[in-house]
């Protein structure tokens, strides 16, 4: 059905529609709903950053949250010891995370498939164990396992602290919008096509003269930069950062699962993954709090298995198809008329 060419759920229109929904939604929601929406944006942004390298180039990283931790820790330490505004600390942290990401990835990108995945788990584990057991790294305090509880700055927006949840929401939303825009730009650039070629068959890509390591490293750098911004957001929003969660295996897998379930290697996949999974898991963990503590993550696992089985390209494809089907049922006749007019011309 060629009608789908005009669908509002395709291409740019779909993204604009989603952006509009995201912009308006928190204004209509109560505080609890707003906090869920913040988490949706946060996880969506992290998954978008993950997707940029892991989804497009097919290098399954299960330790990507390590760069989130680095970014969050650097901005927090700068804030607490030197009084540097997190807005600046965020960029410093991101630059350092990018550097560390590129340096670490240079040797590990030689590894293929599961070997790379295992290496990424090991890297995350090494950083986590190190931070957990180190009180002071030279002159820099790390505070070991107790982590950092951020001091109040009196709700100053310049210090990344907002009085209402709306402030945090729009920060997360802008981050997400930038993330989606960068992914969209990249997917249409040479870099994006190279990465897809590398994912399909990196030997073939290399034989065609693509510098595989170079392009993977560029994507890795962008991805690390973005995900470390999410780390600063995490620290500022929760007003706490500690090694258990942010350097832990659970968060790393959760980010990967959101992107994978949504649809890896697609622009909107990770966002759709977060929109579906985060509210579901928040609702479940709030409803069954204390009695069944693993239920929400259990569902992540089950949904992942089902997605691998029945929708290998992720939820994204089906969500768009379903939306188009509804659209066609509602406005189908109108759309078709337009189509036939255009055809007769």
């Amino acid at each position: 059905m060629s009608y789908k060419g005009n669908s509002i759920f395709k291409g740019k229109f779909f993204v604009w529609l989603a952006a509009l929904c995201f912009l308006v939604a928190p204004l209509l929601a109560n505080t609890y709903m707003q906090s869920i929406l913040i988490l949706v944006c946060f996880y969506a942004f992290a998954a978008v950053a993950w997707n940029l390298i892991c989804g497009y180039a097919g290098t399954m990283s299960l330790g990507h949250s390590v760069y989130m931790g680095i970014g969050g820790y650097i901005s927090t330490i700068l804030l607490e010891t030197k009084g540097v505004s997190p807005w600046i600390g965020m960029l410093i942290g991101a630059a350092v995370a990018m550097l560390i990401g590129v340096v670490i990835s240079y040797p590990t990108f030689r590894l293929k498939g599961p070997y790379f995945t295992l290496a990424s788990i090991a890297i995350c584990e090494i950083f986590g164990t190190f931070v957990l057991n180190t009180e002071n790294l030279g002159p820099i305090p790390l505070k070991g396992g107790s982590g950092w509880s951020l001091t109040q700055t009196g709700y100053q927006a310049v210090m990344y602290e907002f009085r209402s949840k709306l402030g945090y929401y729009y920060v997360a939303f802008i981050l997400l919008a930038i993330g989606v825009f960068v992914t969209w730009k990249m997917s249409r650039s040479k870099l994006g096509y190279y990465l897809v070629a590398i994912r399909s068959d990196d030997d073939a890509a290399r034989s065609l003269g693509i510098n595989v390591t170079k392009y993977k490293l560029i994507a890795m750098g962008i991805s690390c930069f973005m995900i470390s911004l999410a780390g600063t957001f995490y620290a500022q929003y929760f007003r706490y950062i500690g090694p258990d969660r942010i350097f832990g295996y659970d968060l790393a897998v959760q980010i990967a699962l959101i992107a994978l379930i949504g649809g890896q290697g697609t622009v909107m996949g990770p966002v759709i993954g977060a929109v579906v999974l985060v509210p579901l898991s928040e609702y479940l963990s709030a409803t069954f709090a204390g009695t069944m503590s693993g239920l929400n993550l259990f569902l992540y696992g089950v949904i992942m298995m089902l997605v691998v089985y029945f929708m290998p390209h992720g939820l994204c494809e089906y969500v768009v198809k379903a939306a188009q089907w509804i659209e066609e049922k509602l406005f189908g006749a109108h759309g078709k008329r337009k189509q036939s007019k255009a055809a007769s011309k």
Binding site: G113, L118, L257, M292, S293, G294, G301, M304, Y309
Partner: protein
């Protein structure tokens, strides 16, 4: 007898248990060529089976092993035959998603781990079996360790020996080796590839269930043990060479030694960090592992 010597002994004993946990993973990878990310979760599941049998019917894990290991063989066989097989077949048809089995096992790992968290909560449990609460005293009482650890150390070599014998000296092993070398050629010779895969997977999970009995009787039982030992066993298997049975045991011994000897000089958690760093170095320099064969 100084502390260093004692810590080497402790390291070897612990390393044997690590090797035992890793050996099943190695068999599965060696034959089916997939890394079972649900390995740790299945280890944890078997430990809870022993916990239930011990607390309800007072059956010692080392005895219950006789029932649980065959049960896990069946579970592994069915998992491969029913669940993973369609994915493997589909993967051959298209080159687009060569990672679906890995993603599936990651999802399975997450699901099992959190299912047990839901049922048993995160509280630690210990099994006060005879082997857990009685200590062996060797070298004039200077070397003190639980009997369960010594049993695990011995079992590691027994299980590895049995697996090695099955794969290298029996008719079934010939089929397994044929499939792992070239599955199309094996299929042409009349070997049922997916049944053989299933048997290999079952052998791996049965070995894992034996490791579970050891772990339950010298360590804690909690939903997070799967994560702790699972991650380590991936590293051990890669360190020793994926698919190599002696490699898994040697990798386990190296990990045990680093952790125990390293703990003499730095904190024990830092020492386990050291073993991860060693893993990374080996992986980058020699991705096939210490005893791995070139592909």
């Amino acid at each position: 007898m100084n502390n260093l010597f004692l810590s080497i002994l402790h390291g070897l004993i612990l390393g044997g248990a690590y090797g035992l946990i890793a050996v099943g993973l190695s068999v599965i990878f060696g034959v089916v060529r997939i890394i079972n990310f649900a390995h740790g979760a299945m280890l944890m599941a078997s430990a809870y089976a022993y916990y239930e049998l011990f607390t309800r019917y007072d059956v010692d894990p080392f005895l219950a092993m006789i029932v649980i290991a065959p049960l896990f063989f069946v579970i592994g066989f069915l998992l491969q035959k029913v669940v993973i097989r369609p994915l493997l077949i589909r993967e051959r048809a298209s080159v687009l998603e060569p990672t679906s089995v890995m993603l599936f096992t990651i999802g399975l790992d997450y699901a099992i781990a959190n299912l047990y968290l839901m049922i048993y909560t995160s509280r630690y449990k210990t099994l006060n079996t005879w082997a857990y609460s009685n200590y062996a005293r060797l070298f004039d009482g200077k070397f003190v360790t639980q009997y369960s650890r010594i049993i695990s150390f011995v079992l590691a070599f027994v299980v590895a020996g049995i697996l090695w014998f099955i794969i290298n000296r029996t008719e079934l092993g010939k089929r397994i080796r044929a499939v792992s070398q070239n599955r199309d050629a094996a299929a042409l010779c009349g070997v049922n590839v997916h049944t053989t895969y299933g048997i290999a997977f079952g052998l791996g999970t049965a070995a894992l269930a034996i490791a579970g009995a050891c772990m339950a009787s010298f360590y804690l039982v909690s939903p997070s043990v799967g994560n702790v030992f699972g991650t380590k066993s991936f590293m051990i298997v890669v360190l020793g060479g994926l698919g190599s049975i002696p490699g898994a045991i040697i990798g386990g011994l190296i990990f045990g030694l680093i952790e125990q000897v390293g703990a003499q000089f730095i904190t024990s958690t830092m020492a386990s960090m050291l073993s991860f760093i060693l893993f990374l170095i080996v992986l980058v320099i020699k991705p096939d592992g210490l005893l791995g064969k070139k592909k």
